[in-house]
């Protein structure tokens, strides 16, 4: 006689679980008893014991499973009674209870004071939960992608009617009231309000602000389609700008996005002009434009940050391509190109951050005579096979094609290390361009995870009589648990040139390749 008891979302410490196991085994006639959490391997074990059931199949790692085998119905019933008694006793003793809301309604009941709901579900279900959250008067951060455009339009309309933020879909980063949400960094509070359609774009700007001595008042994500799709019409960007315009803590507003749809530009620019505060705008990859009134245009994520910091201090911003003196850059270029073999002629950019990828592609496409990528500047340069580079290639390894069934490369470093292993066998590769994004939710040591493979790649190039240049940057701050300085030191320990920003890293690669062309 077999019996399965499943307690959903039950947390009991090991001592309790083991003592239950020991107690029921003492009952005469009980053969086998497994008291364990419903992890994959435990479920396999229970099935192996012939104790499978629909309940077992539906269990998850936070569900407690008690599988009993006894010689009679009475024995297993008595064992079950004993289990329930022991669990009840333990619950009342410790006041422990399950906590795992199954939807927005129950989450709101448990935390009535929460005014923002983060939703990360498969795209097809995410809209429904977001709607419930908005209807319950909560702001929403929708992490999920693959949400239909119609759903996004409807959700943003609803949010607008209710005066709520609807960040996303596909919004991975925000900093609200000093609280980092999802992928974000430890950045000091300050006077610059950020509105960004892009995750790592917001991170790179926020971290550059911190490096420049400034601080962030709010960082509001909007999702990539907010400005790009004219049907969405920049609803959230406009709402966020209006909010920051009224925010007494915000002195300067910065907006970061890919170039908006033409039909959206007038309304967004009107909102920015009406904000009455200095606004820095960076449309990644857009033609540079002269500023007008309170609007200032930046040419890179880093420049967006520096310009905003200067404006917040009432200073005039003077841009420069590199932080290092020109002689040092020239020496660096000489050093990195000196040992290269004649056949080494291509750049391979392997990125974890989507916006950082875009920035590198736009910075290098023209100078290198074309860069292949999954989202190229020129459609003729669309990468034929995402898994195989051709010519100069820069890929965002966070694209769906690489992450099916796997975590994002900002969490799981193996996606990139595997690709580096592949690239290092290509004798035509001259430069590897990488990012390293740290902060909340990111890999605990992304640089450390790459060290072995970067060393191997350099060794492989040496064996062929060449030299592989590795250039990168770290998006992060001193306050991040991974620490920007530690990450930089680790990368430098294997001969990586770590530049102060993603943009400067791309510009250094441009110089290296220009030198290669002249050799």
């Amino acid at each position: 006689m077999k019996r399965i008891i499943v307690r959903k979302d039950s947390y009991y410490d090991s001592v309790v679980l083991m003592s239950i196991s020991a107690e029921i085994k003492k009952i005469d006639g009980v053969g086998e008893a497994v008291v364990a959490m419903g992890t994959e391997v435990n479920l396999t074990l229970i099935k192996d014991m012939g104790l499978d059931s629909d309940e077992v199949r539906a269990a998850g790692p936070n569900d407690l499973i008690i599988a009993l085998e006894g010689e009679s119905e009475e024995v297993v019933s008595s064992a079950e009674t004993k289990v329930n008694e022991l669990l009840r006793k333990k619950s009342s003793a410790d006041g422990q209870a399950a906590y795992r809301p199954t939807g927005v309604e129950s989450a709101v009941k448990i935390m009535p004071d929460a005014n923002l709901v983060i939703i990360s579900l498969p795209g097809q279900y995410a809209g429904r939960e977001a709607r419930k959250a908005l209807q319950a008067d909560r702001h929403v951060m929708l992490f999920s992608d693959n949400v239909p455009i119609e759903t996004e339009i409807e959700l943003k309309k609803l949010a607008q009617e209710r005066g709520l933020l609807m960040m996303g879909p596909d919004c991975g980063t925000a900093m609200i009231n000093g609280m980092p949400i999802c992928f974000a960094n430890v950045v000091r509070r300050g006077e610059i309000g950020l509105v960004s359609a892009a995750g790592t774009g917001l991170q790179e700007v926020a971290c550059s602000i911190e490096k420049a001595g400034g601080g962030v008042s709010q960082g509001i994500g909007t999702g990539g389609r907010d400005l790009k799709n004219e049907r969405v019409g920049g609803t959230m960007v406009r709402m966020a700008v209006e909010a920051l315009a009224q925010d007494p803590e915000t002195k300067v507003i910065a907006v970061i996005s890919k170039p908006p749809a033409k039909a959206v530009i007038p309304s967004v620019m009107d909102t920015l002009k009406a904000a009455g505060k200095p606004c820095v705008v960076h449309f990644i990859g857009a033609e540079s434009a002269a500023g007008e009134g309170n609007i200032h245009y930046a040419t890179s994520l880093e420049e967006t940050a520096r310009m905003a910091v200067a404006l917040s201090r009432g200073e005039r911003y003077t841009g420069q391509e590199f932080d290092m003196p020109e002689e040092e850059i020239a020496a660096l270029v000489e050093r990195e190109t000196a040992g290269m073999a004649p056949q080494q002629q291509f750049v391979r950019g392997l990125f974890a951050g989507g916006t950082l990828t875009d920035e590198a592609v736009f910075a290098l496409h023209e100078p290198l005579g074309g860069v292949y990528s999954l989202d190229p500047v020129d459609p003729a340069f669309e990468l034929r096979d995402p898994h195989r580079s051709q010519g100069h290639t820069i890929v965002d390894l966070g694209e769906d094609v690489f992450t099916v069934g796997r975590p994002h490369p900002m969490i799981d470093a193996s996606i990139r290390t595997e690709r580096i292993e592949q690239e290092m066998e290509d004798p035509e590769v001259a430069v590897l361009l990488i990012d390293c994004v740290i902060g909340y939710s990111s890999h605990p040591d992304p640089a450390g995870a790459m060290l072995g493979v970067l060393q191997a790649a350099k060794s492989r190039a040496r064996e062929r009589g060449g030299y592989l240049a590795v250039v990168g940057s770290v998006t992060g701050t001193e306050g991040d648990s991974q620490n920007i300085h530690d990450q930089r030191r680790k990368l430098e320990s294997v001969g990586c040139v770590v530049m102060p920003s993603n943009y400067q890293a791309a510009k250094l690669v441009e110089r290296i390749m220009a030198r290669r062309a002249s050799q």
Partner: protein, 346 residues
């Protein structure tokens, strides 16, 4: 920010209605928000917003980890479902934190209606000045830098490993994977683990250890404690047995193990271990010269005496967690040969 000297003076750990943390895990951020997901006798676990790793508030030093705060007591208000919110090294719980920033822009970020109700009684934990806990097992953790320039740690001498084996066999608690060391203690989990590792009385060092993740009873399943022990052995200079990327990939599946255990393993992959294990590690590595001397003077018996108090404390951790972690440690230190030979190959 609490002054460090002032912090030291708060020996009792209490100030007003707040608590002062004795120690602060290195992976505890300065600012976070979360919810208590479970309360135990000596620990509270907190799901942190936007992070996959949970964190813990513990009152026993042996349970300290890089994602924990060591406290003098667990306040009553820290019940399941309680909100915890921290900034600048101060965590508040049981009430909604208020500040001028939460009142900005009435149109957009107005607090939800319910938040305007009177806040419930809560408390505060000051961890800004608490000494850091890293959980490293050796001065040069394998995980923190695999650079060739680093000096590789020297594995503990065989006599010490033999001494450890003797104590674990004698005092280890069953219920988990002790059966991997001692057939008499075999149970359904250790038998299944042996099957997953492909052990049939013969040595096998290329086993897929990631398959053990999630196996066994307890909030940290025995298989996870075991894998952590093997990772600890690697940190101490033992040969590499574990494919760390494979373990990471396994942990990426939410179904593989409990959130508490996934946090423990992720920290172990980053070279950070709980205090009960670092204490054993310290005994095994602190004075290798003295241990070599012990070996000369008394062999395993003497080494066993030297280790005994620390190892016994570790074995008492959890129900079988301490035992399973030390079984893993022994497994790793002997290059997986302990199962095949039933003793430490010298």
């Amino acid at each position: 920010m609490t002054d460090r000297n002032e912090h030291r003076q708060q020996a009792c750990g209490f100030r007003g209605r707040g608590l002062i943390a004795h120690e602060r895990g290195a992976m505890i951020p300065r600012a976070f928000s979360g919810t208590v997901i479970a309360r135990f006798e000596h620990a509270v676990t907190i799901a942190v917003s936007g992070e996959s790793l949970i964190m813990a508030l513990v009152t026993r030093r042996e349970g300290m980890s890089a994602r924990a705060l060591l406290l003098p007591a667990l306040p009553r208000e820290l019940r399941t479902g309680a909100a915890v919110c921290a900034s600048d090294g101060r965590a508040r719980f049981g009430e909604q934190p208020r500040g001028r920033s939460s009142e900005w822009v009435a149109r957009t970020l107005t607090p939800a209606p319910a938040a305007q109700a009177t806040a419930a009684a809560g408390g505060e934990i000051d961890f800004a000045g608490a000494p850091w806990y890293y959980g490293h097992l050796s001065a040069a953790p394998v995980t923190s830098c695999r650079s060739e320039q680093m000096v590789a740690p020297v594995p503990p001498p065989p006599a010490l490993i033999a001494g450890l084996l003797e104590i674990v066999r004698e005092h280890g608690r069953g219920g988990g994977l002790l059966g991997l060391l001692d057939r008499r203690r075999e149970n359904v989990f250790s038998a299944f683990a042996a099957r997953l590792l492909g052990i049939k009385g013969a040595r096998r060092s290329t086993a897929e250890y990631e398959k053990l993740v999630g196996l066994g009873g307890g909030l940290t399943p025995a298989g996870d404690d075991f894998v952590m022990g093997v990772l600890a052995a690697e940190e101490l200079g033992a040969p590499t047995l574990i494919d760390r990327d494979a373990v990471s990939r396994r942990l990426a599946h939410a179904e593989s193990t409990t959130v508490v255990s996934a946090t423990m393993l992720r920290l172990a992959l980053a070279g950070m271990f709980p205090a009960y294990l670092t204490a054993v590690g310290a005994e095994l590595t602190a004075v290798p010269a003295a241990m070599r001397d012990a070996e000369r003077r008394g062999g395993p018996a003497r080494a066993s005496r030297e280790l005994r108090p620390t190892v016994l404390r570790a074995l008492e951790y959890g129900h079988s967690s301490g035992t399973d972690a030390l079984v893993g440690l022994l497994w790793g230190l002997t290059g997986a040969r302990v199962a095949a030979f039933g003793s430490v190959p010298v």
